[in-house]
């Protein structure tokens, strides 16, 4: 929507700009030739007045163009951003996990800003090229066909030259950019490894190494730039030479009297204007390419989401009970390349603590993903005999926390009572059960759990699951490696808390490697990787 509005107003501004350019050149020619013909200032003053008015209108148009560009960019960015966000929700956590969420955040945050230059510098000039250039060439053609011929010959040369130079230098450029990437990462690498270098007493020598890396970086970059600057050289040369050719040819025809001064001056003033928008397009080509790349990344996500139907219908049909016994029957996970774990069957009775064990990479997290609805599975997952559909939506009977606590910005209490009404007493008791009696509910949590240590964040995550189970009466609490960042004393306190929780009528399921956890569980469920025949 915004894009169309942007194009329409851009075109309107383009038409008005063309009119201003023509009027300005025509009035200016009139004033100069009039004065040379001997007309006094008083007689020409009205024309000069109109000239000032035209300049004023032109300034307003320049302002309007920037205004439209800035607004258009802001609107389109917002529309695209929210659209992609919608698509991400539809694609679900399993897709996001493959993508690296900070990369997606960068695409939606700073990545979208690459569209700014596209909208403010590239697109308006492109519109002007389409509108201004043909009209001006036509006007020149009507006044002086010879000059128009010069321009018509050189104008197409600009894109042709740029493409030819681009093609000729492409392979050189690509090779150089790889070298450049290596050299520039050398700097990042040295800064990142500074502590390590200090441990080995190598930091002083890095100064010399940095010097030589940067020197190589310069030599290589300049090799690339010498070639890249050639294309803008060709652009400038074609534009200014054709203006020069027009001027000289007009001059020679004026001398032999085959042309009038007013026509000559008018065409001379218009000739550079025919090239200006195209030159701007060429100059801003790079900015445009970045914007297009960002937009393409966004569209890719949108297209991907379109292939997946919204699971609203499935959600409406699903009316999960809030409690019951969870059973797995021959459950395995299949992302589309065959099952990743050997089928698992088991039951998690209320009042017990079950520990799920298995070597790393056996597929324990995938199994949890299946129970949560994030990973596509085979076999049956059922609650009191009712099959649970596989889709990423809230399960009223389940309280879960993953290996990463994934805390949101707010207070500890906000996190513990996530998605539920806040009850300060319940928050306190959930924290106590999660072996976190020393953590204050008022403590602030920053982005990605900033402000808490790893062990603290882990226990806040556990308290969040406990709070939910108390609040909603969930019958299953699922914890993935809950004690991996805890010392033995805290771990033991946590296991006490989980036992209290189980005794209150909840099935506690824990994925863990820790000996203490396994020793104190009521049952052990082993997950094994799928052994592929013929695999190395």
């Amino acid at each position: 929507m915004s894009a169309r509005w942007f194009l329409v107003s851009g075109a309107a501004i383009g038409v008005a700009t063309t009119a201003c350019i023509l009027a300005f050149a025509w009035l200016l020619t009139g004033c100069i030739t009039g004065a040379i013909d001997g007309r006094p200032l008083g007689e020409l003053l009205p024309q000069v007045g109109i000239l000032v008015v035209v300049a004023l209108v032109r300034a307003v148009l320049v302002y309007a163009q920037e205004l439209v560009a800035a607004r258009g960019a802001a609107r389109v960015k917002s529309e695209l951003r929210l659209g992609v966000l919608d698509a991400v929700r539809r694609l679900g956590p399993a897709w996001l996990a493959e993508q690296n969420s900070s990369r997606v955040a960068t695409l939606l945050g700073r990545g979208m800003d690459a569209l700014d230059d596209y909208f403010s510098k590239y697109l308006p000039q492109l519109i002007l090229t389409v509108i201004v250039t043909p009209v001006i060439v036509l006007v020149i053609l009507l006044n002086d066909p010879i000059s128009a011929a010069f321009i018509l010959v050189t104008l197409p040369l600009i894109p042709i030259f740029m493409i030819l130079i681009g093609l000729a230098t492409q392979s050189v450029q690509r090779r150089q950019w790889t070298i450049l990437g290596d050299l520039s990462s050398g700097f990042v690498d040295t800064l990142g490894g500074l502590a390590t270098l200090k441990i080995f007493g190598r930091e002083r020598r890095q100064v010399d190494r940095m010097r030589s890396i940067t020197r190589d970086y310069r030599t290589q970059t300049m090799r690339v730039l010498r070639v890249s600057f050639l294309s803008s050289f060709a652009l400038e040369l074609a534009a200014s030479l054709s203006v020069a050719l027009v001027a000289v040819s007009i001059g020679l025809r004026l001398v032999d009297g085959s042309m009038g001064l007013s026509v000559g001056l008018f065409v001379l003033l218009l000739a550079p204007e025919a090239f200006l928008p195209l030159r701007q397009v060429g100059t801003n080509f790079h900015a445009a390419a970045e914007g297009v790349a960002a937009a393409e990344d966004a569209f890719e996500v949108l297209d991907l989401a379109k292939e997946r139907p919204a699971d609203a219908a499935a959600l409406a049909a699903q009316a999960d009970a809030a409690s019951g016994t969870l059973t797995l029957t021959a459950v395995s996970v299949d992302y589309g390349n065959g099952p990743v774990l050997a089928p698992v069957s088991g039951e998690f009775p209320i009042g017990t603590v079950t520990v799920i064990v298995g070597a790393s990479g056996a597929g324990k997290s995938s199994l949890l993903g299946a129970i949560l609805g994030f990973a596509p599975h085979t076999g049956t997952i059922a609650l009191d005999g009712t099959t649970i559909l596989s889709s990423a939506h809230e399960r009223p009977w389940l309280a879960w926390t993953g290996q990463r606590p994934s805390l949101v910005v707010g207070s500890v209490a906000d996190n513990v009572a996530l998605g539920a009404e806040m009850d300060p007493e319940r928050v306190r008791s959930a924290l106590d059960l999660a072996a976190a009696p020393e953590i204050s509910p008022e403590l602030a949590v920053g982005v990605a759990g900033a402000g808490l240590s790893g062990g603290q964040a882990q226990r806040v995550g556990i308290a969040r699951a406990i709070y939910r189970s108390l609040d909603r009466g969930c019958s299953v609490v699922l914890l993935d490696e809950p004690s991996s960042a805890l010392d033995t004393r805290t771990e033991s306190a946590l296991l006490d808390g989980l036992r209290v929780l189980a005794d209150s009528g909840i099935a506690v399921v824990v994925v863990s490697h820790r000996r203490a956890v396994i020793e104190r569980a009521d049952a052990v469920l082993t997950v094994e990787p799928r052994v592929l025949a013929g695999a190395p």
Binding site: C31, I32, L67, A70, V255, L418, A420, G455
Partner: protein
């Protein structure tokens, strides 16, 4: 993104000194400016000589009188493109040469600070933003100083040339240029300033909301809080879009003012020039002269259009310099150990390897000590485990031992007071295997060799065998196998083994392991610990760990509880 900010403001002198390192003062740079002025002058001269040529030709003089103008038009057309190319080459070359100074200067600032003076969290994003800030500094010569010098130079020359033909027109042109410069600088400056003030926090808020939402989408869904979470992002987006729309009102003012003043200067030249046409003598103006003074302003303003862009580039360069000054101040904070003694006494072989008494250490910016050690000593050849919850102060101890952090109290290494020893000497005795060992984006060989440059391939393979990586490196095709960016091709356990291999190559008498199993799958942790301790069996070992470790691996256990180290009694070896 919220970078870690050191308390206290930015020192203006440091910002100036960083900016001054970024500005080249070489002959190459001066040539760049000269070529830039010549290119811009060619642009103006092309239009002026063309106008002169046409109006003079209309007077139908003998063609000979026009040949100079014809040559001039062609030469300036070529000159514009040619000088522009040379300018870009010269100025980019000079800027890249300067990058050498800038990077080395930054490295020298960072060396004493690393790692603990750089903030404890988000060190990675801090460094990558530092790198892009350093790159941004290149824009000081390229996009700020050069365009300003070129614009001012060309404007001055153009005013002078017009003044030769018509002083009145020149005054008008000068006034219009000064007004355009002024408005360009003031408006572009205030637009950029308001963007920094109002937009930057909104942009950061949006990014934080996005990271928050995307990073916890699974939790939000499972807790039925997804819609509320998404609403936060939508609100942040609405906020930013509204601010952007409001700011768009200011975006075009500078460009519009330039366009307007260019038109006014042309009109003024007509008003000033036309009456002079009829005058004769020294005050008179010829027809071609009138065309020149009327058209020159058009071309000059095209050159001057770079001034508002230079002003906003300056803003960005300056905030980059401020960020660098904040992250990497010239003076290291007092909590960071950087000065050692110069004692060259021989160590006492009978004394304990490490002997601490009444030691306390603080992190930069903290008011309370992160660690107090009433008394702690490690015998030569002993293996000691330091337990404690995460955040209790165990890493602080490790960093005191290798002199990353300054301490108060007494720390003796083989009987010598550590304060009297050069920092390098201490680091030659005590080696640290970091919690996240840094792997350089190079081959396995390069990642080991810097620990001992004289090592042969046989030495390297031998040490890899000792740390349990013999098979692994053979499967990967030998020592030339790459480890990936920040060790992305290597697991947490393998990284720890490589770190130990380095320490063994350097042959530190004392090796400190900082949480070697923190980033290792729990079922592999035990085997890793066993391998690490076996490989370092003839060294003195301080092992820091939060979890339980199998009995028999260490001689003694001590605990760090809430920042205080307590001896928990000896266990049988």
């Amino acid at each position: 993104m919220r970078a870690h900010v050191r308390p206290g403001g930015v020192n203006a002198r440091e910002v100036r000194s960083i900016l001054s390192t970024a500005q080249p003062r070489t002959a190459g740079w001066v040539w760049g400016v000269v070529f830039g002025v010549l290119a811009a002058l060619s642009t103006v001269a092309l239009l002026a000589t063309s106008a002169f040529l046409i109006t003079r030709a209309a007077e139908q003089p003998p063609i000979l009188y026009l040949s100079m103008a014809v040559v001039g038009v062609r030469a300036f057309a070529l000159g514009r493109a040619f000088f522009r190319y040379l300018e870009r080459l010269a100025s980019h070359d000079a800027a890249f040469r300067q990058l050498e100074t800038v990077r080395v200067d930054l490295l020298k600032r960072l060396i004493p600070l690393a790692p603990d003076g750089l903030g404890r969290t988000r060190r990675g994003s801090l460094l990558s933003s530092l790198v892009s800030d350093v790159d941004e500094l290149q824009n000081l010569p390229l996009r700020v100083v050069q365009p300003l010098l070129t614009s001012v130079g060309v404007a001055a020359i153009a005013v002078w040339v017009v003044a030769l033909l018509s002083p009145t027109a020149a005054v008008g042109l000068a006034v219009a240029l000064v007004a355009a410069f002024g408005i360009g600088i003031v408006v572009a400056g205030s637009v950029a300033a308001s963007a920094e003030r109002t937009l930057a926090p909104k942009r950061a808020a949006l990014l934080d909301a996005l990271l928050d939402y995307l990073g916890s989408i699974d939790v939000l869904i499972a807790y039925g809080a997804e819609e509320a979470g998404r609403e936060k992002v939508t609100a942040a987006d609405r906020n930013l879009t509204r601010a952007l729309t409001a700011r768009s009102l200011g975006a075009g003012i500078a460009a519009a003012a330039l366009s307007l003043f260019s038109g006014l200067a042309v009109a003024w030249s007509l008003v000033a020039g036309i009456p002079a046409l009829s005058e004769t003598g020294s005050g008179g103006l010829s027809g071609p002269g009138l065309a020149v003074i009327v058209l020159v302003p058009l071309a000059v303003f095209e050159v001057v259009a770079s001034v508002p862009l230079a002003v906003s580039a300056w803003r960005q360069v300056r905030s980059s310099a401020q960020r660098i000054a904040r992250v990497a101040p010239n003076e290291a904070p007092t909590e960071i150990a950087c000065r050692g003694g110069s004692s060259e006494r021989m160590p006492d072989p009978a004394a304990p390897a490490i002997d601490l008494s009444a030691v306390a250490a603080r992190w930069p910016g903290a008011t309370v000590p992160a660690l107090s050690v009433p008394s702690f000593s490690v015998r030569r050849g002993e293996r000691v485990l330091i337990e404690g919850a995460s955040g209790a102060g165990k890493t602080t101890l490790a960093h005191v031992l290798v002199r990353f952090l300054e301490y108060s109290g007494s720390y003796r290494l083989f009987g010598q007071d550590v304060r009297e020893l050069p920092v390098e000497t201490v680091r030659g005795v005590v080696g640290l295997c970091e919690q996240i060992p840094y792997l350089f984006d190079e081959s396995v060989r390069q990642n080991l060799l810097f620990a001992r440059e004289t090592a042969t391939d046989a030495d390297l393979l031998d040490v890899l065998d000792r740390v349990g990586l013999g098979r692994w490196v053979a499967d990967r095709g030998g020592l030339d196998a790459r480890v990936g960016e920040r060790g992305s091709l290597v697991s947490g356990g393998q990284a720890q083994r490589i770190a130990l291999a380095r320490a063994l190559l350097r042959d530190f008498p004392v090796i400190v392991f900082d949480e070697p199993t923190a980033n290792v799958e729990a079922d592999l942790a035990e085997a890793l610990l066993e391998d690490l301790l076996r490989a370092s069996s003839d060294h003195t070992v301080v092992l820091i760990s939060h979890g339980d470790i199998p009995a028999g691996l260490v001689d003694r256990r001590v605990s760090v509880i809430d920042g205080i180290l307590v001896e928990a009694g000896s266990l049988p070896a």
